[in-house]
């Protein structure tokens, strides 16, 4: 039995509305407890320390086929001369380095947002080989021929719900994501664009319909995380209109719009590229069930990787270095890996940087917006402390804006925004809010019975970037895993999953489909709990679902 006492720390615990209040925290057997009657194994003096729950990244590409393609494609960037962990580049780290770098920043749970059902074994294996953190994945739907065929034949919502629930169970995922709804499938039939109200040539259905049906399925199944949506027209100037239409497609049901920065572009001005962050954040602020993560762009080399093969193929001419890969995958998805270098000499890249920051700063409620770079699409996750400083320090932000190689001052309202995020708001957007939106009732909190995933920062460090980059202690499941930047213990987190109930009749239909059209058998598509623990190597934790009905 391990017991810990964190003494005299300043607590930031948004779920309990505790902000910067001195309090002792007690830990026993991996959980936070109110008090300890036993002998305390270790007391950590937290005077002049800030204590927050472990941070949660709800959208980071850390495991799966496309990540591995990028690792192998871009070997020339694996040149870590510091011999720090291994050679891999920060934007395409190995699984070991991913875990080490996240935990050293105080992140204790991370979620892979693009798990292709057919590739779920690989995604989970990679995440199982990622130390320390709890993890989970969102299964991709909405471009799979089975679902599109169901929709085109006018299937009842209940049948779609059953299919969605089956996929969640089969893939051991915690949520559902749709990428460029219908567009990836349409690309396989040689369509090069698909707008929200445009019919796909093959199935004669619109992205709007796909979003509506999937959002409803996720809601009715009671899956805590709303439908995770990568909108149509990724990166296309003027795409804010289709983003707003996609939000409307959910018809008021909960929906999470991901990397919204990449979907907040206008097409005004002499360069036909402008910020539409004001229009987008107006929606975020007024629609109650809407959340988003930003996908902030920061300057430097990275690799873009997406299920959106339609748009990745369209953008391959921007590859830097000049190489890329797109793939059509198993009649259910696609992927595209295009290396990219964001530079402040590019008007478009500089404005992307500003649009992301505008989106953060114009969104009023930190419960509705999450800190992401869409790792590694906008920048590697290791840049989060820098991003936090940009949000918390106006003069730092303004200085960087002034120093950009291209002048975008007439194209951004960034300088007019006076807001500086507070520590409480940062704690909300990186801890309590993602825990809530994922249904992780035991995480993102310092409540009694919560998982003892805790990060301790040194408040004597005045530079917040430095402070957030190097917590003094990180505790995972009650074990001190990081102390003064050094790894003290290795732990292996669990995989967070949901398993909503469904009518098993759908499996008969799926079996027929698989037998006739697929190249593997349905039983081999599904990953069992035993396979997760015995073969893949990760124990699961089931997050509760509670069915709802739309009247």
């Amino acid at each position: 039995m391990t017991t810990l006492c964190l003494k005299n720390g300043q607590i930031f615990d948004p779920i309990n509305k505790i902000f910067n209040k001195k309090k002792d925290i007690y830990v026993k057997d991996g959980k936070i407890v109110e008090k300890l009657n036993e002998k305390i194994s270790e007391t950590i003096d937290c005077k002049n320390k800030i204590i927050m729950p472990g941070a949660i990244d709800l959208h980071t590409h850390i495991g799966g086929g496309k990540v591995n393609i990028a690792r192998l494609m871009l070997q020339e960037f694996h040149n870590n001369s510091d011999r720090d962990y291994d050679l891999t580049a920060d934007f395409i780290p190995s699984t070991l380095k991913t875990g080490l770098q996240y935990i050293k920043m105080g992140y204790t749970s991370c979620f892979e947002p693009a798990v292709l059902p057919i590739n779920a074994r690989q995604s989970h294996s990679e995440m199982a080989d990622t130390p320390f953190i709890d993890k989970g994945g969102y299964a991709l739907l909405g471009n799979d021929d089975f679902l599109l065929d169901l929709i085109s034949r006018g299937a009842h919502q209940s049948e779609i719900n059953d299919y969605v629930a089956f996929i969640l169970k089969a893939t051991q995922c915690i949520g559902i994501k749709v990428v460029n709804p219908g567009g990836i499938n349409a690309f396989k039939f040689n369509q090069r664009a698909l707008n929200v109200d445009e019919n796909s040539v093959r199935y004669k259905i619109t992205p709007r319909k796909i979003v509506r049906l999937l959002a409803r399925a996720v809601y009715e199944l009671g899956v805590p995380h709303p439908l995770h949506v990568h909108c149509s027209n990724l990166g296309v100037p003027g795409n804010f209109k289709s983003t707003i239409e996609t939000i409307k497609a959910a018809e008021g049901l909960p929906v999470h719009i991901t990397h919204i920065q990449f979907h907040s572009y206008g097409n005004n001005g002499d360069r036909n590229f402008s910020s539409a962050s004001a229009e987008i954040t107006d929606y975020i602020n007024k629609i109650p069930n809407l959340t988003c993560d930003v996908g902030q762009v920061l300057f430097g080399q990275t690799a873009t990787m997406s299920g959106d093969s339609m748009k990745q193929h369209a953008n391959h001419s921007h590859a830097h270095p000049d190489k890329w890969l797109c793939m059509d995958i198993e009649c259910e998805a696609g992927c595209g890996v295009v290396p990219f270098k964001y530079t402040d000499q590019s008007f478009v890249n500089a404005l992307q940087w500003a649009i992301g920051l505008e989106t953060f700063l114009l969104t009023e409620d930190p419960d509705k917006i999450f800190l992401t770079t869409d790792h590694p699409n906008g920048a590697p996750f290791t840049s989060y402390p820098h991003l936090i400083k940009l949000l918390m320090n106006k003069s730092f932000r303004d200085n960087l804006l002034d120093q950009l190689s291209v002048d975008i001052s007439k194209h951004t309202i960034l300088k007019d925004i006076k807001r500086e995020y507070t520590l409480s708001e940062i704690a909300t957007m990186t801890r309590s809010a993602p825990a809530r939106i994922l249904g992780l009732t035991n995480k993102g909190s310092l409540s009694k019975e919560a998982d003892a995933d805790i990060t301790i920062y040194d408040s004597n460090i005045k530079d917040v970037e430095e402070m957030f980059a190097s917590p003094t202690h990180v505790i995972k499941d009650g074990v001190v895993v990081v102390k003064d930047g050094e790894i003290k213990n290795y732990t292996w987190g669990k995989t967070q999953v949901v398993k909503p109930e469904y009518d098993a009749t759908i499996e008969k239909k799926l079996k027929k489909y698989f037998d006739k059209y697929h190249t593997i058998a349905l039983p081999n598509y599904s990953i069992s709990n035993d396979e997760m623990s015995e073969v893949i190597g990760s124990d699961i934790n089931e997050v509760k679902c509670s069915r709802k009905r739309i009247s």
Partner: protein, 418 residues
Amino acid sequence: MSKISDSLNHKNIVCPFCSLHCDDLEIDVHDNKLYVKSNVPKSCAYKYEKLNLAKFKDMVTTVKGKPCEPKKAYQYSKQLIKKSKETVLLNSSSDVNVTREVLSTASKVNAIVDHVNSSIFLKNISIYQRRGYMATSLTEIKNKSDVIIVFSNNLFKTYPRLMEKFLATKNSFSVNSKKKEIYVIGNKKNNIKDCNIRDKRITYVDYNNRNITKLLNSLISKKNESSISNKVFNKLLASIETSKYLSVLWATSEFESYKECDEIIYNISAYVVSLNKTSRAACLSLSGNDGDVSFTQTLGWMTGFPSRIKFTGNFFEYDKDANNAIQLINSGNSDLVIHLNSLSEKKLVLNKKNKNIVIGRPCTKFNIEPDVFISCGIPGIDFKGHIFRTDNVVSLPLTSLRMSHSRSTQEILREILE
């Protein structure tokens, strides 16, 4: 718990022996013997049923060719490892979990990790390390391809069910499968013999695949300068021009002996990429019968590199030339090679210049007797596991079908490095 004498019927079994990993096998197990009930080529069924012979079931350990107790083989292996100054862990065939263990092991003994097929799969990876690449997978080909080109000299011998199960299929939901056009280009005699399918959708074209670039240039210029007859060439050209989704398949291993190998695979890829300006087309390079894909993928996520890494303590370095295991062995720069062969029936090539420990499936063949041989169980027969299919994106579960007398490769590695 089941007993050896139990009779069991297993359905939807994934075959671990070729990288198509067909998963529609039905296998009966009586008295711990395997009987394939599915209607599959004899060569596929035999891979299972030969394992019923006693010599394939019992655990065998030898030191210098002489049978011995496992303990002695482990002890001697430990001595060899302790004495070694440059150990190579050479993977000859394995699944994901063996590869995971190999990486863990390598860091304990500062070993070089490589795969016998590295030179081939590094060529495949080099395509997208240098230029663009459009890839596809087997279910896409089955359902969306109206035109399929297969460059093959012996491909259907290596992948016995490729045509029947994935290409010339009865059902495709988005194209009329009856109207599919399949061109098999290469050694016509071999292809007809190995395919064993008479199907009017298939056109066998006799061609020297060393000259694929010439054929591609002819297709681009629409002027036949290849040795293919104008009639067949024009038919092929018309099929490509009207196709909605063209798939092009090959196995780089078949081109490896050609000096034009790199040029050929690069030109196929570039041609397919160019077709995507106006239509849809994609490539599938077949590989992985020796667990290559599982090895590459696993190393990829654990190290960022596909093979040829050397551990020094907890750190590792990649060098595709300096850590080329085959070259190291041939040049006498390794004093100990630990061969890992849990799947393949191919004869292992050992070099007498160095000591050899083989952890291999029962009855693994060698050119010379290894210093130590320890038989291991086969993933998918004796142990559970996880393996990648040839298209790199589909990974399948391997199950345990029989009670095994052998230990897994992972257990043996842990034992000799204790």
